[in-house]
Symmetry: C3
Subunit: 404 residues, 3 copies
């Protein structure tokens, strides 16, 4: 971003908007990091370190946290150009008082100890919420997760359904399902009973969404083709929950990859595969995440045409400014502003909310400046309102959270 | 666009170029709007209003024009970020003397009445032509349209052939075809006779193009696979008419959508499907419109290699500055300047020619400034000449209209 | 590019980096042009001239070089907007002292004679190396090319394997293979012996890579599906040669096109087809070139995840600033800097190294300025180091050339 006072003013105003983060993998019982290992153990760092030559050995549980951090940091210079590396720099500067530019191996001991001290303050979780201007954050819960023992206003449950749809025929999954619902699944009517109990349980614990990630070849063309998926959509309708569809991931493409660093995508994937679902459930809000700009262009048009299709953040391999900016630019120009959920952190630890949202807000501020304020379509304060809709207003309204 | 005097100067020069609009859906007997309902009844507004929550009821013919406009306007704030909304603002400012930024429901009565007064001036059609610097505009005619009773220099007929190719086996279509050509179609030689008479009739009434929109899976791999399509190409060759191929639309994807707001596209579509056609008809100019940037990249390469392939405007879901700019940038850098037809309005009412072309010219001016003048490849006046080729010169030469 | 001192400073620093060009089609015995015909006979000019109307006749060998140049130049004005045309202007200015902007037909005789005089200086080859700051350049050798009689340090052999993989069953190819290896191929073990001898011969003559161009539907899912390709990968592993995969070209799409101006691509092509190969050969560096931005987005993610996948230049139809900038921007933000080979010239004559690399360096300088220096992520000198890695450092390390 160039030295640009308009962009900086917009950015400052966007930074003032308190966040509700509508998708993450936070563990509400361990929401913050306890050591630098929790930060650098994020798959973005382990997979990039592995990609530039780090073997698997340092990732073994028997290796000490300090040693693992040392191993990862010793490979970081090789990917210090990446935006993922810049998230780490942001965390180190914002939360650890670090002053340098890139972390070198000789800095490891000092910063490791600093992190240990800071992360283990008794109010660290609250500090991170406050400094990130975070108010609420959505979880991603397995169907049999315990939903008690944490503040479900702050940590909003969300029913993740990959296991049910893709592994529902496995005895172990059916056993877990019976345990949590009391229903032994067999025929489809028993599945319906079991899923109904799941939804009841989740909604009674404050769940605000149902979610699933889907492979590129998934095609729910009729209820019979994907009965569990179709029933989930029915329950989303009956319980008035948005259904987050995260479309296009291929699992385990790199078989010898590190944990969570094995998946990729196939850009030959179309939303056409979902036409029957979008048509069959007009009252369900489908929040759609995609992995490629080709599919984003389809998404822009689908959200423009289908009342129940909403754009949902910038997911994973698309969560890079080069792609955020081009994808977001098209959304801002062609998708109604009430139908865009700007961003989610996808974080495993709360410390990542701040740098990831900052990256997004920079992209947003630049586009608001160039395409709206400088073209005289919006005043600065109107542009900030548009940003507010994407960052906060639509999350509240569509997921019925916050002040809704 | 930033405050940028070079861009503004280029834009002013481009605005001076009189237009020949090579593709529209104008009805030459009702070319201009008669009420604001004709403006806001454009599918871009009805589908966006519906997308943000407007039910079908206000679109029923029994509802008064004023009520319908009120219903649509009451939903417009929710999509006032879109470029389609900015076309309306441009029309309101340019043609209706409106001073505000966004139209609110309480403005409806006043602007509705203003529009009624202005649109019903006896010379309104001429005024729109003059203010839009429009000289000629192409129509999209069904094969049995009456081509008499209007000025075919101003309103250039164009034979639209979707019905013949995709519904030629329907008795009603064959009956209409017999009525207009005198030929009862049965075997392929009777089809050839019938199509020959259509071409004769259209060309004798000044038709300058043949056109068709095609689904993503259309594959005319040989004459036998798509006999009617193949014969149309033969007649384009024999009658020296360019053949506009508008590639990639899926019809009726959103089944409950508003009229003309049901279609979408599948980005998994390739020009490879047209290789046999491009090879078989070297003397036919194929003007290609596409719906996605992925296909635009193929189009850029095809227009660079095939002498008979020409880029043709920015169609429908691609007709958004975010996509126009990236698609056009590649065309300007890699497609010979004589093989690019810059833009068409696709308008149903003449009032839309001005705002749509203005949007395009802004994109063009910015690219000419950044990629040509600032890199010292072209002087300002040479850049305007390049813009002239896209906006006017190539239309005249390739379609044999204007001063050609 | 705007008047921009930061970009200009970065560009100047990047221009100072001596080049090792890791992919070309140079003939080491005729590396430089001997007449302007060698420049304008490059397929980029013949195919563009043909695309705008030049017939085949001037390309016939019986036509004199001067006449052919005259024919091509007389069509150049029609594609003087293209970046390919700007390469020619650069060559004319840099090497021929030409002062104009676009070459007109009346300039032909003078510039043809100037070129003849300059190109036939006895040290012209050395002059081009020096002025282009070129140190080494890779060749593309057929398996039975004579690898003697030239400086293999300057002209680095590379085994091109298209013929073996796609035409290995042709008697003539098998005969040539027997001639050069002494092995009559029949069963797969004889193929393995023959290929082993080829690799020995190439490596003993300083070959530094194995390369192949692949059609969009190529799918080496297991050794049995593509035995020759799979064996080549095994030998790359055993001989520690990177394997350049140039993915996505469709041959002879435009059947009546000029020589080398008949090929195109299909953007519906995915790296997923290579997952088994990437998994099976973890120690082979796969340098991947692609033809579309959709596939580039997949490549960015694959190079981020797979340790053995490296981005490799900007190939052919993607070698246009509009696509280079967006593709490179994503690479710079998401692919480790050690895993990007920035560029190669793909040149047939050495004179093209300078203008093509200049085009690339301009894109690179602009991105380094906007995304790294202006965002305060890098100082200017760090940004130049990043550029150095892409332009030179990674070529040396990954191909074991230069000072490696």
């Amino acid at each position: 971003m160039k030295d640009d006072s308009l962009v900086n003013q917009l950015l400052a105003a966007l930074e003032d908007i308190p966040l509700i983060d509508p998708h993450s993998h936070i563990d509400p019982r361990q929401p913050v990091s306890r050591s630098l290992d929790d930060i650098l153990g994020y798959h973005y760092y382990t997979e990039l370190a592995h990609s530039v030559g780090m073997p698997h050995a340092p990732l073994h549980p028997a290796v000490s946290a300090r040693e693992r951090v040392r191993a990862i940091v010793s490979h970081m210079e090789r990917f210090d150009n990446t935006v993922q590396s810049s998230w780490f720099s942001d965390i180190a500067r914002e939360f650890l008082g670090w002053q340098g530019e890139y972390l070198s191996p000789q800095d490891v001991d000092a910063i490791f100890d600093t992190a240990h001290r800071i992360f283990n303050q008794p109010d660290w979780e609250d500090q991170v919420f406050r400094r990130s201007r975070l108010e609420q954050i959505f979880l991603t819960n397995e169907f049999d997760d315990d939903l008690t023992g944490f503040d479900t206003h702050r940590y909003v449950p969300c029913l993740r359904t990959d296991t049910l749809v893709f592994r529902g025929n496995e005895p172990d999954v059916q056993r877990r399902l019976a345990q949590v619902t009391g229903v032994e699944v067999g025929d489809w009517s028993s599945w319906r009973r079991a899923l109904g109990r799941l939804f009841e349980r989740f909604v009674s614990h404050g769940a605000k969404a149902c979610a699933i990630s889907l492979p590129p070849d998934f095609a729910p063309s009729c209820p019979e083709s994907q009965p569990v998926f179709w029933m989930l959509a029915e329950f989303c309708r009956d319980f008035q929950l948005p259904f987050d569809l995260m479309i296009g991931v291929n699992r385990r493409v790199y078989e010898q990859g590190v944990y969570q660093g094995q998946d990729l995508f196939d850009h030959r994937c179309s939303l056409l595969a979902y036409r029957q679902v979008f048509n069959a459930f007009p009252t369900v809000t489908f929040c759609i995440s995609v992995l490629s700009s080709g599919l984003n262009q389809e998404l822009v048009s689908h959200a423009w045409i289908f009342p129940n299709v909403v754009t949902f953040g910038h997911w994973w391999y698309s969560n890079v400014p080069a792609y955020i900016e081009s994808d977001l630019r098209a959304r801002l120009q062609a998708v109604p502003k009430t139908k865009q959920i700007g961003y989610y952190s996808d974080a495993y630890k709360l410390e990542f909310v701040l740098p990831k949202y900052r990256m997004y807000r920079r992209c947003l501020a630049r586009l608001l400046a160039d395409d709206f304020v400088r073209t005289r379509r919006l005043t600065e304060s109107q542009a900030v309102e548009l940003g507010h809709a994407l960052l906060r207003g639509n999350v509240e309204r569509l997921f019925r959270v916050g002040s809704h």
